[in-house]
Structures are given as C-alpha cells and as structure tokens.
Symmetry: C2
Subunit: 200 residues, 2 copies
C-alpha cells in the first residue's frame, strides 16, 4: 500500500486458519513484503491486527468467526476464499443458487469490505506460483475498488498474477469455477497441482 504521497507502507495482513491454503496464502503475501500474523481456530479472543484479513478456513467455519470477531472486522478488508461444496454429495453447493458464500459473508459483515479471492487456485499452485507453464492467477471479485486494488497489489508483490473479475456478484461464478475444478480433481480428471490457468 502506498499513501497519497507515494511512500510505501507495509501492509498488515491477518490470516485465519492454519491449513494448506492458509500456509500457501501466507507464503504469497509474506513474499510480497506484507507483515502477516495468524489466528487459529483455538484462538477465541485474539486481536485482529491486519488491515486485510484472509479467512482461510473451510466454509462451515465462517459463521463462528463472524459472530466472534465481527465487531473487530468492521472497516477491514475481509477476504473469503471458500468453496462451499456439499462434501457429502460433491454434486452441489450449500449456498442458494445464484448467491455465494461471499455474498452471505457480506450480509453477516455489513461494515466490512468483503472480497472473494483464492477459491479458484489450488494450494499447490499458490506455492509453485504456476499452473503448468503459467504464472498462477488469482481471481478477485468485490464491490470496493480500493479494497480489491490493495489485495491485488499484495498478491502481485508476492510474485503471482491477480485479475479483477468484477463485482462481488461475480463470486457466484468464481464459486462455480472453484466447484467445477474441485470435482474434476476429485474425479482424477486433473491433478491437484493443475486446474484452470488463465491465459491473458
């Protein structure tokens, strides 16, 4: 992030979660020079330091985070990375058709600047920085242009590409893409190191 005079200010990022996505996202954003701290599910009363907060947790865990930390998340950039699959059937999402996990999160956090990102990139492609021969591209959707720019800048600083995919309503399509990609990998049609690469 740069202030209006162009002086570089270190971005503070808090990541909820400690799984492979949390680890991979930490790797990207730390490489970009951000100061990253973590809050795990056993931390029930932590202080949320980051200006950007990445909720790198499974979809069912979002509700507890919003109820526990909602007040602290007011005004912050909150990044939803979830793919809200029905993991019993692998045949649908658990959010209503036409909605998205990100839209539901935005409803639960009306004072936060909610962004969808990282749900279309498998963890290994964040670590490798590539999908096949392509630089990994993180698709980012949200209604707050400044918030999207801040996240896109932080991702690019970490060596990946990032593309503004539009308004938060595009999270519906990003989650469809994430769902499709997971089903292809689960069916061994693609490797978990592959997936959809964006050719510009």
């Amino acid at each position: 992030m740069a202030n209006p005079k162009g002086v570089h200010i270190m971005t503070n990022i808090t990541i909820f979660g400690s799984g492979n996505m949390a680890t991979a996202i930490n790797g990207v954003l730390s490489a970009g020079g951000a100061s990253v701290d973590h809050i795990s599910s056993s931390d029930t009363d932590s202080t949320v330091i980051g200006d950007i907060v990445v909720l790198a947790v499974p979809h069912p865990a979002l509700r507890e985070i919003t109820s526990r930390y909602g007040d602290q998340l007011a005004g912050k950039i909150v990044v939803d990375i979830t793919n809200p699959l029905d993991f019993e059937t692998f045949d649908s999402l658990v959010v209503p058709a036409g909605s998205s996990a990100a839209a539901e999160l935005a409803d639960q956090l009306p004072s936060s600047r909610v962004i969808k990102a990282f749900n279309t990139t498998f963890a290994s492609t964040l670590g490798a920085q590539s999908v096949g021969p392509h630089k990994t591209t993180v698709l980012v959707a949200g209604d707050d242009e400044e918030a999207k720019s801040a996240l896109i800048d932080a991702i690019k600083a970490g060596g990946l590409d990032a593309v503004d995919a539009g308004s938060l309503s595009r999270a519906t399509e990003l989650e469809a893409l994430g769902f499709l990609q997971v089903t292809l990998a689960a069916a061994n049609k693609i490797e978990w190191t592959g997936g959809f690469a964006l050719v510009r």
Copy 2:
C-alpha cells in the same frame, strides 16, 4: 464411432448455425474425419442427417429450432454450446439461477440426448487448437455416457482434448465459467484468443 465388431463407421454430424463458432466446430470435427453438414437459420424444413447435432447458434435461437426440428431430433445426440448471457447488462444469465440453457433444452427435447460442450472455448482457440501453450480442452457435460463418449471421441479425433465434466447438471457451472470468461474478455482483462486453459 465403432460398431460392436470394432469396424470404424464415419460419424455424421449436423451443425446448425453459420457463425464463427459453427465454422470453428466444423473445422475440428471435419479434421477428425466426421462427415459434417450444415443447416442455417434460413433453412426452415431441412432434413437433419447427423447422429450428432450441434446447435451452434445464439441462445435465443434455440427455441425456434426445438419447435421446428424437435421431432427430427428425437433419439439424436444434441449439443448445446450456448452462453445464455443477458447481453444488455453483461451482468447475469437469462436462465434461472441453478438451472442452465442445457437443462432447459433437455426439457424441450425430452427424447434427445442433450450434451453441453464448446461453451467454455472461444472460437479462435478451437481454430488454433490451443490456448496459449496448451492444447484446447473442450469440457463436456451430460447424462448419457455413450453420447458423451461419442462427442469426446469426435473432438479428440479432430486434434483437441476433451474432458467429461460430469452430469448435465454441471452445465450450470460450465455456463458460469463461460459467462465469467466472456466478461473478462469484454472488459479487456483477457484476449478473445485466450481464456481458461485446463492444466491436467
């Protein structure tokens, strides 16, 4: 296609439409050795010869084709390639959330074997046979396994890759992917020669 004794039989394919997608699909399937004929929108009483029928027309044209040719399409493999965008807003699809153009087509053609394919590959990537350095991959969804295999074989014979993306209900996700890809190209985030390449 091969009969039960393994003798190779030429596949007859009829393509509705004469636009750039119809031309590109013709190129792929003809290269694979299929015998391809065309029916254009001005042909109102043609005989549908193909065992596989590709409706390479804009989404609004499907209804007239099903009402005019529905009887002839009974028993045939019918391929829906449409992206049912609302082209006034570029912000939604015109099919109900959770449904798809392919599902609606299957409702209109209950005796046909409806497949979704070709809606996630721009015409130029069919002609070039590649998206960036990757062989172009056609994603195919449908409920009739034999029908899907026939189309996948015809596409692969033409030099592209093709992947079975699951049941016809996955057309919802394929159309979301197609929608997202069109909006990215329309916003100059990607070129019309690019898009999502599937890395296996």
